[in-house]
């Protein structure tokens, strides 16, 4: 199974982008992004809180559809999925 994870803005600086991943069967959206961010503390901390959940401001989309945070731990990724993870950019 191959999926693509795209980080944007600050997350991109910290973690890169357009990352191809080959998750295990049964991987959820939350576990996939966690696994990718593990090992890059700044990137992980930018996206996840101390409980390993997405920070409330983080936007997560799967194939162009928003995934609510409370569902991210249950939504299983499928072959060909494109996951987008981004923060609201704030400056002006």
């Amino acid at each position: 199974m191959t999926v693509k994870v795209r980080f944007f803005a600050r997350f991109r600086e910290l973690l890169g982008t357009d990352i191809p991943a080959d998750p295990m069967d049964g991987a959820t959206l939350l576990s996939l992004v966690r696994d990718l961010a593990q090992g890059k503390k700044d990137g992980y901390d930018a996206i996840f809180d101390e409980h390993g959940n997405f920070h409330e401001f983080v936007i997560v989309m799967r194939n162009g559809k928003r995934v609510e945070h409370e569902d991210a731990g249950a939504v299983r990724v499928a072959d060909g999925d494109e996951i987008a993870v981004f923060p609201p950019v704030a400056g002006g």
């Binding site: 795209r6 944007f8 803005a9 600050r10 991109r12 600086e13 982008t17 409330e56 401001f57 936007i59 989309m61 162009g64 559809k65 928003r66 987008a84 981004f86 923060p87 609201p88 950019v89 704030a90 400056g91 002006g92």
Partner: protein
């Protein structure tokens, strides 16, 4: 001709409110002024500081210490004396936002924080005025156009504000995003082209790449009611 006399007349009759005379407000106001938007209201409370000058191209070294609204009015009037500029020296807040915006034809979000943006979003929804959103950080920027009742509102796309932070912006990012916002304002007034509706334009200046993300209305958006306007919508 690009849009002819009729188009130019539409621009002349238009009134656009620009919230902020900083990084985004600079290119937005300059390009709307030279396009011939007949009335521009621009609001800001700040004073020009030297640290602004890397990106706030409405202001110059000579303006340091001057109110941004004074500086803005001087520049915009100089670049197009045939339009009306209302430069209002104030902080936009709940007590004055609706009055400041009045019956403008469009609101440009050139703010630097989400609480202020959510306020503009609420006024836009309540008074059914399009909101042209833009935001920048470093080499990154984003923009979208919100047509109340038809497209996702800002709260649908970004339900929660990010934590406050101070992060430098390279001036060209403000230029890219500000001109994208101004382009959509002009297209909206002219009724031409495809607006940045239902999608978030994302600019990565480091990669030299633009992306867009599909945006949808939130089912029960606390600001606009989303796809269930009776459950929380603020529309009239």
């Amino acid at each position: 001709m690009l849009f002819g006399e009729e188009g130019q007349e539409r621009l002349k009759k238009a009134h656009i409110f620009i919230a902020g005379a900083g990084g985004l407000g600079s290119p937005v106001s300059l390009y709307l002024a030279v396009a011939g938007i007949g009335t521009i209201t621009i609001a800001d409370l700040d004073v020009v500081d030297q640290t602004n000058l890397n990106r706030q191209i409405l202001h110059t070294d000579r303006d340091i210490g001057k109110k941004k609204t004074v500086s803005a009015e001087e520049k915009l009037t100089a670049i197009n004396p045939d339009i009306t500029i209302h430069a209002i020296d104030t902080r936009i807040d709940e007590s004055n936002a609706a009055r400041l915006i009045g019956n403008a034809d469009g609101i440009v979000d050139a703010m630097d924080n989400y609480p202020a943006r959510y306020l503009l979003n609420n006024i836009a929804i309540h008074n059914t005025i399009p909101l042209f959103h833009g935001a920048i950080r470093g080499f990154y920027g984003q923009a979208t156009t919100i047509i109340p009742g038809k497209t996702p509102c800002l709260k649908c796309i970004f339900p929660k504000a990010p934590p406050k932070e101070v992060f430098p912006v390279v001036g060209v990012t403000a230029g890219v995003i500000g001109t994208v916002q101004a382009t959509d304002v002009i297209k909206f007034i002219l009724g031409s082209g495809d607006l940045l509706t239902n999608r978030l334009f994302i600019w990565d200046g480091l990669a030299g790449r633009a992306d867009e993300i599909h945006a949808e209305r939130m089912a029960c958006c606390p600001a606009c009611g989303g796809t269930n306007p009776e459950k929380g919508g603020k529309k009239k």
